[in-house]
Assembly symmetry: C2
Homo-oligomer: 79 residues x 2
């Protein structure tokens, strides 16, 4: 995970690499399920063989503890 800026807002962002589009999309679906469960939603960018996940808190205008908790949950998904 790297601290980055998406549209001028600070976020934490990680990229996962896959062998094709649909595997990237399926993993995005697992992140989306987590997001719904915890009612905190990322930006998911799926392209061929790649998923980028970015977390930030709209109300805070940047990265909060809630985002870091989602980061940890995502890392559990990927192992």
């Amino acid at each position: 995970w790297h601290r980055e800026s998406v549209g001028g807002v600070a976020c934490v962002r990680r990229i996962w690499i896959f062998d094709n589009f649909i595997d990237a999309f399926r993993f995005a679906g697992r992140v989306a399920e987590l997001a719904e469960k915890y009612n905190h939603h990322p930006q998911l960018t799926v392209s061929w063989g790649e998923l980028a996940v970015a977390w930030w808190s709209h109300d805070a205008g940047g990265v909060t503890q809630a985002d870091l908790e989602m980061v940890a949950l995502c890392d559990h998904l990927s192992t």
Copy 2:
């Protein structure tokens, strides 16, 4: 659809607005199905209440007829 640049590459891009995250993600799934069917894949960016779809052709380094065909198919989805 607007002609834009994603990472320096010309693309055609459209944004759909939804009432929540999961509806945006579900619509992304329908675009992903089309992409698999035609073996031509977009960049899909899902965030809360919004899906951005961008098409370009890697091999051509820009927008081709194949992209415009996918644009038309996406428009059929959304109606």
